[in-house]
Amino acid sequence: MNIKAKLMAAAALAVFAVPVSSLADTADKRIALSNNYAGNSWRQAMLQSWATVGDKAVEDGVVAVADVFTTSENQATEQAAQIQNMILQGYDAIVVNAASPTALNGAVKEACDAGIVVVSFDGIVTEPCAWRIAVDFKEMGRQQVEYLASRLPDGGNLLEIRGLAGVFVDDEIHAGIEEGVKEFPKFKIVGSVHGDWAQDVAQKAVAGILPSLPEIAGVVTQGGDGYGAAQAIDAAGRDMPIIVMGNRQDEMKWWAEARDANGYETLSLSIAPGVGTLAFWVAQQVLDGADVPKDLTVPFLKVTQDSLDEALEATPEGSVANVEYSLDDAKGVIADAQ
């Protein structure tokens, strides 16, 4: 083979190889995370997941950098300025957990106009040029009733523990539960209290309403309140209903203990703080030229009877069950939305 033929072969190889090696396309891309708040365990876990996945991606040469910026005051105008700074810093993609769904729209639009990919998650933005990875809280409520229906074919009375009154998330999960009860009419909500997503508040509220309630078959919750409910029902000397849990460490610990003692069975579901890493991979995919729909939905992180021990072991005390998403997970979410 002479040199000319070798060159021809190399050129031919290059032509065929380019569309296949999609990872190389983003090797020089820079992604930044704009985060509005870092003051609770969920956000801390989120930042940690981002660091783990981001550092690995940089090491593997998938992207050039994956920087994190957190605003100090959790204020929309501050975050808008932060995003404008990121435009100046020349990032190719900005992943946002927004302080306000609307107040960042101007800055997000500036970023889009500068050719930057903006992916929002958890705290999403309404600006149409950005991608949104939203949580389907309604579905989260509905699935709880669906699970109870699979366990209790004859239905029964339900106690609903709601979150913080007046917050959008509380309304959404509540609406989903109502929807679920309509779908499975054998269930009836006989009592409803606000547990404010905190186990001590939930315990007090449930203890207060219990004496007025008939026998309860199941408790639907919003997360963070299951352990308190179990404590209150236990203290009242009642039969333990099926309490749907919300992935908190104390809830899973109680569940594991009850399972070991008397074979207690339930389901736990919530949103993993690692959703930030899903947003990271979605941004990477958009940069890579993939066709990604603007609205994506976060999958729930479910802990079942089988995965309980594993989840409990991996969750630090006082924290929430977490999962770091991979590129394939992101591709799956994108494919689902298409």
Binding site: S72, T77, A81, S100, P101, T102, A103
Partner: protein
């Protein structure tokens, strides 16, 4: 002498910060970059001028942040849907501000308490208007805030305009002199036959006007509003006035300095962000910059006094 220092120091601190930002991020040294760096400082500058009006008459306004949020909500809802009604609401809000000023003077109430109370009123009304974030910026405000004038970006033009207009109003006009006198020596103004109540109401009304303008500008930049959008403006505006050479004792203010102070504060945030400082340290660092500038000012004013003493002696 001291009057000249008053404006010199803010200018120097802004120049130093700007040089540092340009060094860290050369991309900022362009039409596009300057606009990005400063466009969100325009509503802060307006809020700072509003705060300056209050500090000028020897009071302090703890409600300016929520008032700007309220104005932003009105702008994104009523002013957009029914412009006449929106304008009427904003004018009523300005009159309310004037009434608060008159009330504070008549009943000799501490402004800090009244405005703190009012901050809950404005905040509450804002939540009533816009229970969940939303609304839309009226097209003409959006156009105004994204206009691209030749050579100099909008943010810089707007800041120069704000500084110029308020300088003429406060430092050059006779009304401005009277307003400053209310803060400097209320009794002297009263004895020479002026109605202090009217003047104070006027100063508060001016603060209301600039607060409303700040809210409108903010919505023009963000495209929609949120009931909590401008809460941090309360403290930023106070810091801006002081950084710009104003003093809490009343009467001693500098409109040009206040605008520069607001720009410096906005720039300090960007500077720390470009430095890639960990967010845990950012609040502290922002405070440190503030203290540094004020410390330098103290040194200057002490030395100024010493020189004066030497001249006299």
């Amino acid at each position: 002498m001291s009057g000249r220092y008053r404006i010199l120091l803010p200018v120097i601190s802004l120049a130093v910060l700007l040089a540092a930002v340009f060094y860290l991020q050369p991309r900022a040294m362009s039409y596009f970059g300057l606009n990005l760096l400063f466009n969100l400082a325009v509503p802060i500058a307006l809020a700072t001028i509003a705060q300056m009006m209050i500090i000028m008459v020897n009071d302090i306004d703890l409600s300016i942040g929520t008032f700007v949020s309220f104005s932003a909500c009105v702008t994104a809802t009523f002013l957009n849907d029914t412009p006449l009604l929106g304008a009427a609401i904003l004018i009523a809000a300005i009159l309310a501000y004037a009434a608060i000023g008159a009330l504070i003077h008549l009943r000799e109430l501490p402004a800090i308490v009244v405005t703190l109370g009012m901050s809950f009123v404005w905040g509450g009304v804002a939540v009533l208007l816009l229970p969940s974030p939303g609304g839309a910026a009226p097209g003409w405000i959006r156009t105004l805030m994204t206009v691209k004038p030749p050579l100099v970006p909008m943010a810089v033009v707007a800041c120069v305009l704000i500084a110029g207009v308020t300088h003429v109003l406060i430092m050059r006009s006779s009304t401005g002199t009277l307003l400053r006198a209310v803060g400097g020596n209320t009794k002297a103004v009263a004895r020479s036959g002026w109605s202090v109540m009217k003047l104070k109401a006027g100063a508060y009304a001016l603060a209301g006007v600039f607060g409303v303008l700040s809210g409108m500008c903010l919505v023009g930049l963000t495209t929609s509003a949120d009931a909590n959008i401008a809460l941090r403006y309360t403290l930023l505006s106070i810091a801006g006035v002081i950084l710009g050479g104003g003093e809490f004792t009343g009467g001693k203010v500098s409109p040009v300095g206040a605008v520069i102070g607001a720009l410096t504060l906005a720039l300090a945030g960007s500077f720390l962000s470009f430095m890639r400082l960990s967010p845990d340290w950012q609040i502290g660092a922002q405070g440190a910059i503030l203290i540094l500038v004020l410390a330098v000012r103290l040194v200057f004013s002490r030395r100024g006094r010493k020189w004066k003493g030497a001249e006299n002696g």
